[in-house]
C-alpha cells in the first residue's frame, strides 16, 4: 500500500485496467506524449503505445462519439474531456447517444464508455476552467455520474467505471488532485458505483457534500466538535446519479437535520435533488429545514481572486450554516 494523491490514484487505476484488459484504452486531447494537462495519463503512452493512449483532434463530440463507436466494437475506451467546461459539444453524444443506446435498442446494444472530466473551481480558472457541470448530466437516465473525492475511492471507482457496462461520466475536482494523500491499496479494492460513503459518524446534523466542499465540511465538522460539541455526520454521495438514497436517508433519519453542500449553482442542482428526497422520504424524522449551500446563480467563478473567493461557499459560510442547523 502506497500513499497517493487523487491524481496519482486515478493514474494508477487506469494503468492497472490497461494492464489487465487489452481492450481498455485512453483517448483525448494531450493525453499522449504530454500525459494530459494535469498529468493523469503521464507515461501511459510510453507503456501502452500511441494507439491505446491516443491524442485526438480538438473535437469533443468526436472524442465521445468515437469512444461510443469503439465500445460497440469490443473496446473499453476512457475518453478524456480536458476541462468539464468544454463538454457541451459532446452533449449530444453523451445524452442522446451513449446514455440511450441500451434503452433505445431494448437491451440489444450497450455502451461501456468512461468519460473523465476535471471540474470545479481552481484559482485562475475563471469562467471556462471552473464549472461544476454535474447537474446537466444528472437528469439523464442511462448515464451514471460519479464524483469521488478521496484517492482510494477514486482509484477503485475508475476501475469500476471502466468495467461497468454503462456509460459513466467520471468527474474529478481539479483542486483536490493534489490536496491530500492517503493510503491507496495496490490492487483491487472494490467500490461499486452507486454507493455513498459515511466519512464521519455524528448524531447532531448531517452534511452531504462532495468535491472540494467535502474537505472543507470535514474540517469544519472537527472544529464544531471541539468548539461546540456538535457532532456532524458527513456523507459523500460519491455517485451523483443515480443517487444512493438509502445511505443519505439513513443519516437524515439518524440526525434529523440535513445540510447539502456543493459548489455548483444552487438552482436545479444535485443538491436540490438530495434535499427533495430527504424532505419527502425522511419528513417524519426531520427536526429542521433541509438546508443547502452552493454557488450563487451566476455563470461561473471569476478570474480575480476576491471575486472567486466570494463565489465559493467558504469555510466560514459553511460553519455558520452548520451551526445554524445544529441550533435549530
Amino acid at each position: 500500500m502506497a500513499t497517493k494523491n487523487l491524481l496519482q490514484a486515478i493514474h494508477e487505476g487506469l494503468a492497472e485496467e490497461m494492464r489487465s484488459d487489452e481492450s481498455v484504452m485512453v483517448l483525448g486531447e494531450d493525453v499522449g506524449r504530454a500525459g494530459g494537462v494535469f498529468r493523469v495519463t503521464q507515461d501511459l503512452q510510453e507503456e501502452f503505445g500511441a494507439a491505446r493512449v491516443m491524442d485526438t483532434p480538438l473535437a469533443e463530440s468526436l472524442i465521445v462519439g468515437s469512444a461510443i463507436g469503439l465500445s460497440v466494437n469490443g473496446m473499453r475506451p476512457v475518453a478524456e474531456i480536458q476541462f468539464a467546461d468544454f463538454i457541451p459539444p459532446a452533449f449530444d453524444q453523451i445524452v442522446n447517444e451513449a446514455a440511450k443506446f441500451y434503452y433505445r435498442s431494448n437491451g440489444d446494444w450497450s455502451c461501456p464508455i468512461t468519460i473523465r472530466a476535471p471540474y470545479g473551481v481552481v484559482p485562475g480558472g475563471a469562467l471556462y476552467h471552473s464549472q461544476s457541470i454535474e447537474a446537466w448530466f444528472c437528469n439523464t437516465p442511462g448515464l451514471k455520474v460519479v464524483a469521488p473525492t478521496f484517492p482510494a475511492d477514486a482509484k477503485a471507482m475508475i476501475k469500476s467505471a471502466i468495467r461497468d457496462p454503462n456509460p459513466v461520466l467520471f468527474l474529478e475536482h481539479k483542486r483536490t488532485y493534489r490536496l491530500i494523500k492517503e493510503d491507496v491499496p495496490d490492487d483491487d479494492h472494490d467500490v461499486s458505483l452507486g454507493e455513498a460513503r459515511v466519512h464521519r459518524e455524528g448524531t447532531d446534523i448531517t452534511v452531504v457534500a462532495y468535491g472540494l466542499m467535502l474537505y472543507t465540511a470535514l474540517e469544519v465538522a472537527e472544529k464544531l466538535s471541539e468548539e461546540h460539541g456538535v457532532e456532524t455526520e458527513v456523507v459523500e454521495p460519491r455517485t451523483l446519479y443515480p443517487l444512493d438514497k438509502e445511505t443519505i436517508l439513513n443519516s437524515a433519519k439518524k440526525t434529523g437535520k440535513v445540510l447539502v453542500i456543493s459548489e455548483a449553482n444552487l438552482t436545479g442542482s444535485v443538491s436540490g435533488e438530495i434535499a427533495a428526497i430527504v424532505a419527502r422520504e425522511a419528513f417524519e424524522w426531520l427536526d429542521g429545514p433541509v438546508m443547502r449551500l452552493g454557488a450563487p446563480d451566476v455563470p461561473a467563478a471569476a478570474f480575480a481572486k476576491p471575486m472567486m473567493d466570494h463565489f465559493l461557499p467558504s469555510a466560514e459560510k459553511i460553519e455558520a450554516a452548520m451551526l445554524e442547523l445544529a441550533r435549530y
Partner: protein, 334 residues
C-alpha cells in the same frame, strides 16, 4: 468531377445473374414494404412513416458489399433497403412501424426507421442527424487497432454533412486512415430545404481536403453504386483508408407522413425523377440483358406482394409490449 454511371456490365463487376436477381428483389421489396407502410398510415394504423422510396438503388448497391455480422453498418432512417438486405425482414419492418413488442430495433420504443441489430452489426440509431459519423469512425478504429479486416459503412443524407460531427469524423478517419466508408445519399431535400441551400460546393470533393478519395455516383444506378462502393471496400480492406461516396438520388415521397411536400416542391420535378426511378432503370437493364422478362417480373412482384401482405398482417395482430416495459432496461447489468 464526373458523376459515375455504369460503364461496364455486371459480369465485369463480378456479379452473376443470381446476384442481380437478389438485388432486384431487395429493391422491389423495400419499395413495396414502404408503400404498404403509407397505406397503414392512411388507415390510421401507423402513426409515422419515413420512406426509402427513390433511394433503393443506392442502398442495395452500397450494402451489397457488406459481410453481415462482420462489417458494421450505421444506417440512417431511410435505409430499409440496407437493413433488409442484411437480414431484417418485412415483418421486422412492420413490427417497428406499428411499435410492437417484437420490433427488433427497439421493442416499440423508437420511431420507425431507427434501426439496430446486435446480431447483424447494425448499430442502434437515433433521430439527431449526423451523430453516427464519429461513432462509425470509432468502430473503424477498433478494427484497425486489432488489425482486423472489418469495414464500417456509415450513411446519411446530404444534410448530415452540414453539422460538425460529419467533418470531425472525416478528419479523424483521414488522420488514421480508418476502414470506414462515408455513404451520403444526396436526395436533394432536407425536409423542405433543397441542396442549394444546404451544400456549398460539392460534398464529394470535400474528401480531398481530408486526404482521401471522394466520388459522386448516380445513386439511381444500382450497379454504378455497387461498383464505386466495391472499390471503396477494396481500399479499406487493403488498409488504404476511408472513401467518401456521394450518391446522387431523389426523395420520391414527402419527408415523412407528417410532411406535405406540395408546400415546397413542384409536382413536375417529381415526375421528372420518376423517369429515373432506380427500380425501373434496373429492370430495363435486366430485361435488355435477358436476365428478366415480363412474366418473371410479374411473378416476383406477386411473390413480394404476398410476402408484404403476410408480414403486415402478422405485425397488425402482434401484441404491444406491456406498458410497464417503458421502465425496463435503462441500465445494463454487469
Amino acid at each position: 468531377m464526373a458523376i459515375r454511371e455504369t460503364g461496364t456490365g455486371h459480369e465485369a463487376l463480378g456479379l452473376d445473374e443470381d446476384d442481380l436477381r437478389r438485388m432486384h428483389y431487395h429493391m422491389l421489396l423495400a419499395r413495396r414494404v414502404d408503400e404498404r407502410s403509407w397505406i397503414l398510415n392512411r388507415q390510421g394504423k401507423a402513426a409515422f412513416v419515413i420512406s426509402c422510396q427513390g433511394q433503393e438503388g443506392a442502398q442495395v448497391g452500397a450494402a451489397y458489399n457488406l459481410r453481415p455480422g462482420d462489417d458494421y453498418l450505421y444506417p440512417y432512417y431511410r435505409d430499409s433497403g440496407m437493413t433488409m438486405l442484411l437480414g431484417q425482414t418485412p415483418r421486422d419492418q412492420f413490427l417497428s412501424l406499428l411499435g410492437k413488442k417484437e420490433d427488433p430495433n427497439s421493442g416499440g420504443r423508437q420511431m420507425p426507421g431507427h434501426y439496430g441489430s446486435r446480431e447483424l452489426n447494425i448499430v442502434t440509431s437515433s433521430a439527431p442527424v449526423g451523430v453516427q459519423y464519429p461513432q462509425a469512425a470509432g468502430t473503424a478504429l477498433a478494427f484497425k487497432l486489432r488489425s482486423e479486416d472489418g469495414i464500417v459503412l456509415v450513411c446519411g443524407g446530404e444534410a448530415s454533412t452540414s453539422g460538425g460531427d460529419w467533418h470531425e469524423a472525416m478528419n479523424f478517419a483521414g488522420i488514421h486512415n480508418l476502414p470506414v466508408i462515408f455513404f451520403v445519399e444526396n436526395n436533394v431535400y432536407a425536409i423542405s430545404v433543397p441542396t442549394k441551400f444546404q451544400v456549398a460546393g460539392s460534398i464529394a470533393r470535400r474528401a480531398e481536403g481530408y486526404g482521401f478519395p471522394g466520388h459522386e455516383v448516380d445513386g439511381n444506378d444500382v450497379l454504378a453504386v455497387y461498383e464505386v462502393t466495391k472499390e471503396a471496400f477494396g481500399r479499406a480492406r487493403a488498409g488504404e483508408g476511408p472513401t467518401l461516396i456521394e450518391a446522387k438520388t431523389y426523395r420520391m415521397t414527402a419527408h415523412s407522413s407528417d410532411d406535405d411536400d406540395r408546400r415546397y416542391r413542384e409536382r413536375e420535378e417529381i415526375e421528372e425523377w420518376r423517369k429515373k426511378d432506380p427500380i425501373v432503370r434496373f429492370e430495363k437493364y435486366l430485361m435488355e440483358n435477358g436476365i428478366l422478362d415480363e412474366s418473371e417480373r410479374d411473378e416476383i412482384s406477386e411473390r413480394i406482394k404476398a410476402e408484404v401482405a403476410e408480414a403486415s398482417e402478422y405485425a397488425e395482430n402482434a401484441p404491444f409490449a406491456d406498458p410497464e416495459d417503458v421502465l425496463a432496461r435503462v441500465y445494463a447489468e454487469a
